[in-house]
């Protein structure tokens, strides 16, 4: 095992030879097959970053095939705030020939290709890259003994990365111990050996330098947590007092239901794996009706199936949280790719006029907070709330400040207080909270909550006036919420040339795009919407401060040239300066793509429509 004194010598030698290059951040892409455990490497690095001074963001693709298939994991680590997973990789670590061939395009010029000499034969004539051949498989097998096959290659690579980037070996050893101890002594010992072997590989014979992260400028006295978006959302639901739920397996939603199934019993809760999506939403509504605010979720195909019951929740005014971890559509679409094409479905899906709340978290940390917000709104307004996450957000790991649970946790218990004799579920003049069964009502006029149009007491009626009044009652709840929610802050330029508007997981790349543009002296601002339905009040005023407004989203430009949010914002504000930057390649936005999109559009500016004075 590598001891601290070995490390001291190593660091001393490095300093002496002057072969250390200080870097702000690095993008490492690991390319292999899904069974190689490359995501383990990524999560160790992410966890290490959370315990060190670095910030981190990861990005991964997984094949939708059952066993194996090419898979990548990209980690970006840096000393400042890391906002996106990086447009290009500085390092590509290729396990196989196909990994090399597929992903060499992602490596920047001058970048380093680390490859397994056993499986990869790179084109060494291509002088754009630095080539580092490492017998990854051979050395791992040799180190761990003949029976190990090639398991452990990932940990070998982790050791190699630790060496190249001068990472904290002690902390990595601790992490290995914590994560693997429970899997048996043998597993841990093998991992330690593989790690140390990777770390000991004399990579300096091939590359002429080591790297050292700049000391961080960020204030890191608070403790950090490291997790992916699905987990953050799950823990947020628990913090929001959600103790019941039901779901059906579908990628990429399943990890949320798996975690809830495992975690909720501790909290006295229950999660049911239902026979289908229809039963899942119905069970969840049963829980909610009984006073236990519940969650159901899915990806697009399952959300389509839940739509009838969602309409019932709107009509009957029963709270519910619906999580949609969006993937590429339509139909079965691209199960393991990202898209933001379910916004219209979230806002308008289901028949009839069915106002419901739609929220979208902007990053992993926000997944936690938006889930709590959804739980609060669902109860207060007795209404379904849809949370639009997506595949990229669900699977990427970020480090963020540990939330202050004391101030955040909501009470899970149902409100079973007595109701007065004149209690009615649907009064026209005021908002009500659902009265679950078990609550005593003086005089015994117990209500029926219903999907039929009804009068104030819940009796079915087709009275034209009442239908109009009840439609208004359901609509007005959203208008009240719109008054309550804060107007989002514009970051970057507060007025000027271009305002980017985004929602959901595009937050990071948009922030970075604005930083980059502003560093070149351009007047770019960024507005990110977390509340998509209802929209906050006052957007018109913000929009009028910019010459052009570009809505950036991962969906199709549609028949008329506008993405889904862009279309809604144009309808809302009648502002023709709003235009669209969209894409549907199933991958997250690169910063470059956003800026190129902006350059393309600004060429034909429709400036005369804007209220902004030139």
């Amino acid at each position: 095992m590598i001891s601290p004194s070995d490390l001291n010598t190593l660091n001393h030698n490095r300093a002496a030879t002057g072969k250390v290059e200080r870097i702000e951040d690095v993008v490492i892409r690991l390319a292999g097959n899904s069974q190689d455990g490359i995501q383990t490497v990524g999560s160790f690095l992410a966890r290490l970053a959370g315990r060190s001074d670095q910030d981190v963001m990861t990005y991964m693709t997984i094949p939708s095939t059952i066993a194996g298939g090419p898979s990548i994991y990209q980690v970006r680590m840096g000393s400042g705030e890391v906002l996106s997973a990086g447009d290009e990789a500085d390092f590509l670590i290729a396990f196989y020939q196909h990994s090399y061939e597929e992903h060499i395009i992602a490596l920047r010029e001058g970048g380093v290709l680390v490859y397994d000499t056993e499986y990869v034969q790179p084109n060494l004539d291509d002088r754009r890259f630095v080539y580092v051949g490492v017998p990854i498989t051979g050395l791992t097998i040799e180190a761990m003994g003949g029976t190990a096959k090639d398991k452990g290659k990932n940990i070998f690579v982790l050791g190699l990365i630790a060496r190249i980037f001068n990472l904290n070996v002690e902390k990595l050893h601790d992490l290995l111990r914590e994560r693997l101890e429970s899997k048996g002594e043998g597993v841990l010992r093998n991992a330690m050996v593989a790690f140390d072997t990777g770390f000991a590989f004399p990579v300096d014979n091939v590359i002429d330098r080591y790297y050292q992260f700049d000391p961080t400028t960020s204030d890191r006295d608070k403790s950090q947590v490291t997790m992916d978006g699905n987990l953050a959302l799950t823990l947020g639901l628990i913090a929001g007092g959600v103790r019941c739920g039901a779901g059906y397996p579908i990628t990429p939603w399943s990890p949320i239901m798996e975690t809830l199934r495992k975690e909720l019993p501790k909290y006295g809760g229950v999660f049911v794996q239902a026979e289908d999506e229809l039963a899942a939403v119905s069970l969840a509504l049963g829980f909610s009706y009984a006073g236990r605010l519940a969650v159901t979720g899915s990806a697009g195909p399952g959300i389509s199936l839940k739509m009838e019951a969602l309409g019932w929740a709107v009509m009957a005014e029963v709270p519910l949280i619906v999580v949609n971890v969006q993937r590429g559509g339509p139909s079965t679409g691209l199960p393991t790719n990202v898209e933001q094409s379910d916004l219209m479905q979230a806002i308008y899906g289901s028949h009839g006029d069915t106002p419901r709340i739609v929220l979208a978290p902007k990053d992993v940390e926000d997944c936690f907070f938006i889930a709590i917000e959804a739980a609060r709104i669902a109860r207060d307004y007795s209404i379904p709330v849809i949370i639009l996450s997506d595949q990229a957000l669900a699977t990427r790991i970020e480090v963020f400040e540990e939330p202050n649970l004391k101030d955040l946790m909501l009470d899970p218990d149902p409100d079973l207080s007595d109701r007065p004799a004149d209690y009615v579920p649907y009064p026209l003049e005021r908002r009500t909270r659902h009265a679950p069964p078990g609550s005593f009502i003086e005089g015994g006029n117990y209500p029926v909550v219903t999907g039929l149009e009804h009068d104030e007491a819940g009796h079915p009626t087709a009275n034209p006036k009442l239908h109009m009044q009840m439609t208004a009652r359901r609509r007005e709840k959203l208008k009240r919420l719109a008054e309550e929610i804060p107007l989002p802050e514009v970051t970057g330029s507060q007025h000027g040339d271009i305002l980017f508007v985004g929602w959901g997981s595009t937050w990071g790349p948009l922030q970075e795009a604005v930083h980059r543009a502003r560093s070149k002296g351009q007047e770019f601002g960024h507005l990110h919407l977390r509340y998509l339905h209802p929209l906050p009040e006052g957007l018109q005023t913000i929009f009028s401060r910019f010459r052009q407004i570009f809505v950036v989203e991962m969906n199709d430009e549609g028949l008329y040239g506008y993405g889904q949010l862009a279309g809604i914002l144009r309808a809302r504000t009648c502002n023709p300066a709003i235009r669209s930057i969209t894409k549907t390649d199933g991958l997250t936005f690169k910063v470059r793509e956003i800026l190129e999109g902006a350059n393309r559009l600004r060429g034909d500016a429709v400036s005369t429509f804007s209220a902004y004075p030139y």
């Binding site: 959370g50 019941c244 006295g268 049911v272 119905s282 069970l283 649970l405």
Partner: protein, 315 residues
């Protein structure tokens, strides 16, 4: 939350008057005069009155159909849900709140057609609730289409020359689904319905009663063969008494699944009573056990402690 012992919801028992039929009567039923569902409703009032279940703890749930209008006619906490999904909805109510007594009412379309799969899974999971299926062999609310129980040759608006699709045998479906209490009754037999209601309520688990309930508008006379005053026979299942008598040999053992299936195969109009009853842990109890074990492992931890520990693990 599922709980084997006390309800987690602390509440003081409100002072209440004795529950009477009149307190349970709500809107005037909108069913056609002569509809069998009136009797099913009347029997429900009488059973609730007899059993004195606390008024606010009774939940009446239904899906869509003529019979699914039921909750409007009963003054209890109620829910008129969507077509075919009343069983999973009611399952959520039951699992979320062990202190409640959950009833589901519906018809043959709701239960055997659009909601057929939910019936199977609700039964297999053995949620603790009582499900009353008012079977009239026809779609009534939408006015005379073929139902999953319409017999071959039945002329409807969707089968003008007579139904051609093999109908479902409700009792066979229920036996194979894994329901833990299965009974068959008749809307013209109020005393028998009440007895079946009571036994279903006493049963811990997924209890189902199929009640033949005539649609006088679209399938008049459908059940004449089982109405004695119309010349039919209303034959009851004789259950084993365990008295060791030679007659007892031939009586029905309600624990015998194969025997129940054989009874379900008897020629029309078949036989009435309890086909099957099995004691199997309910979903409610199984989940409560999971909670109990998890709670024991984290003895005395508050929700805050638990979530904080999870966050610590993610550092």
């Amino acid at each position: 939350m599922p709980s084997t012992t006390d309800s987690p919801v602390a509440e003081s028992e409100p002072k209440r008057e004795k529950l009477t039929r009149n307190m349970l009567k709500a809107d005037r039923p909108t069913w056609c005069p002569g509809c069998g569902d009136f009797a099913v409703l009347a029997a429900y009032y009488r059973v609730l009155e007899k059993l004195q279940i606390p008024h606010e703890k009774i939940v009446t749930v239904a899906g869509i159909g003529c019979s699914s209008r039921f909750p409007y006619f009963v003054k209890t906490h109620g829910s008129h849900f969507i077509h075919g999904r009343a069983v999973p909805f009611a399952s959520g109510v039951s699992l979320g709140r062990p202190d409640l007594r959950v009833f589901v009412f519906g018809g043959d379309g709701d239960g055997f057609s659009i909601g057929g799969n939910h019936l199977d899974h609700g039964a297999r999971k053995n949620f603790n609730l009582t499900y009353v299926i008012m079977d009239n062999f026809v779609y009534g609310l939408t006015k005379a289409q073929t139902s999953p129980t319409s017999p071959l040759g039945f002329r409807s608006k969707t089968d003008p020359s007579g139904a051609v699709d093999q109908p479902i045998n409700p009792m066979k479906k229920l036996v194979t689904s894994g329901a833990t209490f299965i009974a068959r009754s008749h809307a013209s037999q109020v005393k028998h319905m009440m007895e079946m209601y009571e036994r279903a309520i006493a049963h811990d688990g997924f209890s189902v009663i199929e009640i033949l309930s005539e649609c006088v508008e679209f399938y008049a006379g459908a059940f004449d063969a089982s109405i004695p005053r119309k010349g039919g026979t209303f034959e009851l299942i004789e259950e084993k008494k365990g008295d060791g008598s030679p007659e007892d040999e031939h009586r029905h053992d309600v624990c015998n699944e194969l025997e129940a299936y054989r009874l379900a195969d008897l020629p029309w109009p078949g036989i009435f009573g309890v086909f099957y009853e099995e004691r199997r842990p309910t979903k409610n109890v199984l989940e409560a056990e999971l909670i109990g074990k998890a709670r024991l492992r984290h003895n005395g931890s508050t929700d805050y402690d638990l979530l904080k520990a999870t966050l610590n693990h993610l550092k």
